[in-house]
């Protein structure tokens, strides 16, 4: 068991300079992050790590696991990089979370489901 808050809440505060993700932050757990440039001198070490990790697409959850930082902290760091053009984000396609079913269930798009089913059957 590893407790980041036992480590020190101060450390997390320092990493983000006390910021928390805004309500309009665009990141989902499975948003795929892609680095658009190499790390530069003087960058915050977490930003350097993200740009290195995301040379190939990597989901936010994987970035969080790789940095061993909580998701909300990673969202703040990613927003910094997005704002400065360091990364691009491939958001999940819309489809899930629709509620056009008569029962009001949130149902994904049928084409998406078909691709998922085919992928699973190939496993």
């Amino acid at each position: 068991m590893r407790a980041i808050d036992r480590e020190s809440p101060d450390r997390l505060y320092t990493v983000t300079h006390g910021r928390v993700p805004g309500d309009d932050n665009p990141f989902d757990l499975v948003s795929l992050i892609v680095a658009e440039r190499d790390p530069a001198e003087g960058m915050q070490s977490e930003h350097v790590k993200i740009l290195t990790m995301c040379r190939t697409p990597m989901a936010l959850a994987e970035v969080s696991a790789g940095l061993r930082l909580p998701i909300s902290v990673v969202k703040v760091l990613l927003q910094d990089l997005l704002d400065t053009g360091g990364i691009t984000v491939r958001h999940p396609l819309p489809g899930a979370g629709r509620s056009d079913d008569p029962d009001g269930l949130h149902l994904p798009d049928r084409d998406v489901l078909k691709q998922v089913l085919l992928g699973l059957q190939r496993l």
Binding site: P9, L32, T56, A61, L93, A96, G97, L107
Partner: protein, 217 residues
């Protein structure tokens, strides 16, 4: 105080002979063409086998991530453990399946207990659906999760993880005990076995496809 809801992982012989990458090695990178991340959430109580199920079908060893909860969002029912602290943390595990060159499915193991509810919104937002993993020795652990899934209108299937030393009620008894409606699939599984976990996921996606096609029968 930190919670780690990761299930205890017992090394198991993998009957399918397909072991994920050894722990500690960086997971294989996704292809540059990957552009669509998808989510399925596996919900269940502590020790029910969520991480085992994730690990049995994932192409990477399950990874652990965590989210912090500020004191303001701590439930009033259970705040003794955070007295004097500003944050508390919950860890949860996930795995990955590359479905094709563009679609990547992530499986998240979600703790089902009420005090972890703060995590659920971001886990379930945009998820395809959920698997409720049941331990028949502790069925009441699942009541809250099922209630919340219904409340969130998140489609789900129920998978009964068979433990050798547990009671072996029939699936119809499980369905009745948990008041699960007839159209929702209830299946047995062995979360340690890749093929079995795979079939649970296929059951979920087939069910979602029927729902999306307007056929619930």
């Amino acid at each position: 105080m930190a919670y780690n809801d990761s299930d205890p992982q017992v090394p198991e012989a993998d009957p399918a002979g397909q072991l994920p990458a050894p722990a500690g090695q960086p997971p294989a990178p996704l292809p540059g063409s990957a552009h669509n991340g998808l989510k399925i959430v596996i919900v269940g109580g502590f020790g029910v086998g969520k991480t085992t199920m994730v690990g049995s079908v994932s192409e990477i060893s399950p990874l652990s991530t965590e989210e912090v909860m500020t004191q303001a969002s701590v439930g009033v029912d259970d705040d003794s453990h955070v007295r004097g602290k500003s944050t508390t943390t919950v860890a949860f595990d996930f795995g990955r399946i590359s479905l094709d060159s563009s679609n990547v499915l992530y499986l998240f193991g979600a703790p089902g207990q009420e005090r972890f509810w703060f995590l659920w919104d971001q886990l379930f937002a945009g998820s395809l659906g959920a698997v409720v993993l049941i331990d028949t020795r502790r069925m009441k652990d699942s009541w809250y999760a099922i209630d919340r899934l219904e409340h969130h209108r998140m489609p789900f299937v129920v998978a009964v993880n068979r433990f050798d030393d547990g009671p072996q009620p029939s699936l119809s008894k499980v369905r009745k005990a948990l008041a699960i409606s007839d159209q929702i699939p209830v299946v047995e599984c062995d979360a340690r076995v890749r093929e079995s976990s795979k079939q649970v996921l296929i059951t979920l996606v087939s069910y979602l496809t029927r729902l999306a096609s307007g056929r619930t029968g």
